[in-house]
Amino acid sequence: MSNSLSPVAYDGKIEGNVIFTQVDAAINWMRSNSLWPMPMGLACCAIELMAASSSRFDISRFGAEVMRFSPRQSDVMIVAGTVTYKMALAVKRIWDQMPEPKWCIAMGACASSGGMYRSYAVLQGIDHLIPVDVYISGCPPRPEALLDGLMRLQKKIMTEHALVDQKKELLESL
């Protein structure tokens, strides 16, 4: 069912620029093209996250250049770096403060699986604490890989139902 959504629109010029589409498709199209990231830069991967905003890679081509340092205003948390246990609960707390709909990108080996830090101090993957939508491999991933992950997330958003899939916590609380 969730794959049956399509962003098909009909722009009737004769009727005078009236557009027919599905509500889900329209909302998803708007959401996926204005993803405001919460930059959770914890280690070296954050440098590549910064590079993705620069003119050579230009993350704003995909509508995700508005780095919000306030969780209340952001849509996607990009966990870029090594998550130590001491930091893990702060990351979780910021995630809980983000309003739905929200998504998470685990950028790099450390955020995805603990990376090379098989040690007493490092959480072995941020998915132990928060649900992850896209994992990006690499140590660090190049900015192109981050952009690829972002585009995959956009594709994923286009297949979800704008209310049922993306506002689960809200529906449960009702």
């Binding site: 001491k86 893990a88 609960l89 603990g114 830090y117 098989r118 040690s119 007493y120 490092v122 072995q124």
Partner: protein, 202 residues
């Protein structure tokens, strides 16, 4: 003043306190009795002009007594002289006087040694853990603590699990072999890789 003159003056002031002296690559190390370390540090700061404490670190000589060693790296900006002071701390009574009031930088260095090695610095203004969270039950840099960690639980504060090592830990061991022989791989304690062993079971 050179470091030799400095050590001579410490020796003259505290003849009983110094148990050993070592010189390696133009760096002088002095071993000090644990109960004199505080007065020797005060003397170094006020009389000899060691106005910069580079580092306070700790060493675990597991299986020996006294088990721990605390190392102070002193530097005199005025004379450009480096001096290393070492003292021992026993396992049963892992306490040593703090020098945080002499050099404020010792505050965080001593907190790190307390967190990682479990050495208590008496008289420290704020002896809390600095890297792990308050209430973590272990001291991870002790030799008897496994690299992958031990599970611990502090609901609402933090938690740890054992990290998967997949046959590890993967370590290098100094040897005369090539980089292939030296490369990190799963090894057990006491096992020294040789070139022959590597070629027979790569």
């Amino acid at each position: 003043m050179t470091s030799d003159e400095m050590t001579d003056r410490i020796r003259a002031a505290f003849p009983q306190a110094i148990t050993g002296q070592n010189r390696f690559r133009d760096e002088t190390s002095l071993s000090i009795q644990p109960d004199s370390i505080r007065v020797v540090c005060e003397f170094c700061k006020s009389t000899l002009g060691f106005n910069y404490l580079i580092d306070v670190s700790s060493v675990d000589h597991f299986g020996e007594e006294p088990r721990y060693e605390v190392v102070y790296e002193l530097y005199s900006m005025r004379d450009a002289v480096h001096l290393r002071l070492k003292t021992t701390v026993s396992e049963d009574d892992a306490r040593i006087p703090s020098v945080a009031d002499l050099w404020p930088t010792a505050d965080w260095h001593e907190r790190e040694a307390y967190d990682m090695m479990g050495i208590t610095f008496t008289g420290h203004p704020d002896l809390r853990r600095i890297l792990m969270w308050d209430g973590y039950p272990y001291h991870p840099l002790r030799k008897d603590f496994p690299l992958q960690g031990k599970p611990s639980e502090m609901p609402g504060v933090a938690f740890t699990e054992v990290a998967p090592l997949a046959g590890g830990p993967f370590v290098t061991i100094p040897t005369d072999g090539t980089t292939q022989v030296r490369e990190p791989r799963a090894r057990h304690a006491g096992e020294l890789p040789t070139r022959e062993k590597f070629l027979s079971e790569p």
